[in-house]
Amino acid sequence: MDKLSNPKRRSFLQNILQGIGYSAFGVIAWSAYLSQSQANNLILRPPGAINEKDFVLKCIRCGMCVAACPFDVLKLATISDEISIGTPYFEPRKEACHLCPDAPCTSTCPTDTLDLNLISKDSKLDINSARMGLATINTKTCLAYLGLQCTMCIRACPLADTAIVLKNERNPRTDMHAFLKPVVDPDYCTGCGMCEHACPTKVASIKVLPLAISQGDRGSYYVVGWKKEDEQRLEHGPAEIKVERTKRNEKSALDNVNDVDGILKGLYDE
């Protein structure tokens, strides 16, 4: 029998095509929801969380970290939270992370989505090395920057005087008071959010933002010349730092500066 006119074969193929047609709608809606659910990067995760993209994949959504949290800080995202469903998060303005020294949330994670290695120093658990986010201050709304004595954030900070320091400045308006301006040190801020929780302004003037948003990156192009380790990168650093030797820079920069004739000569040559 001719293959094309075989009715069984024809109806089989038609059934498959029909199925594809039906499922197209469902698959498109499903895909749209999946890509949407990965779009939010304003979420604060528990201590030791791996990067957000891997987090939503690796988290098995068991909620054991939420159950382990002794202060009920962590919550599990529901479908209405605009956060990847079933994943743990916290909102510092409502309840901030207490930085338990034994990290019950991180140590209970069965999938290493909350990775103890990320909050350990010299293979010893050190909760202060957690980097959940970075506190950022809006100096226009902060009471301390207005000249009032507030200090709420630094009093709440578990790493006061290291993660948040007070900068004393003369207040030229009264000429007899000092500003006590809080400044966050990104080297120490854990992102626990105690400051945001404590801030007395109507909307918090100090806010913890995820590192993906709040942290800058200088790139490897800038070399801090007055730091020995950084300067050494020029000699045998990563591949992206390359100093091309041309006629002008064959000698060291210092020699060039002192060699006025050489510079002038170089300019004339070009």
Partner: protein
Amino acid sequence: MNNFLYRHRFLIGRRFTQIFVMVLYFGANAYGWSIVKGDLSSSVIFGFIPLSDPYVVLQMFFGGALISVDILLGVLVILFVYGIIGGRFFCSWVCPVNIITETATYFRKKLGLQKKEKALTFSRNIRYWVIGISLILSFIFSIAAFDMISPIGIAHRGIIYGFGFGWTFLVAIFLFDLLSQKYGWCGHICPLGGFNSIIGKYSLVKVVHDSDKCLYSMACFDVCPEVQILDMVGMRSKAITGSGCIKCGQCIESCINDAFHVSVVSLAKQLKG
């Protein structure tokens, strides 16, 4: 009264187990009980026996995740248990969505809605297609695709950790099963049910039919959520080996002449048919 209890012994047992399991999970989160912690995706019994849903883990694997040892052990435990008592045992004895779908079916019968069945019918193989699609989407989006929209996940996480607007999914399932298709979600679409069917295909615990006792009342066909597995009823005495069987025991309860019973059936016997 005793007769009533006896007639509904499986139903009572299943409801008790379903609620009991959820209470244990809920208590673990709310009151710190340590009998079973986590949820139906992954949990730990007594603090050391891991359990993990193989279907979720397979999706994570397709998404490109490195699976940790704890999770792999959990998957093995589940595969072992399901391999013995049957994967869809989960559907009728643990899954909270089962309560919704059976309630919908109860009202469907009471309200005489099932007569409209012919208006729209869904293939029972949709669930296997959904498994395939979910794995492809997991690969494309690097995320456990079905886990993101799973009503089962929404239901059990909702009970343990809070619902949000997740309950709307459950209402949708109730209405779908009540108005559109008998056992529409659980018996046709749910890929977790499909996956558990595959795992438990050759499980040792089976419902066995004795055709000599059959009175051809067709009562079992009326209650069975997966009627395609009852092809031998009244004709041959054999174990129900169709992978769709959810071990709910409704056929046993419904039969007035006890033509069904639960039994351990060896693999060799199952393969012989």
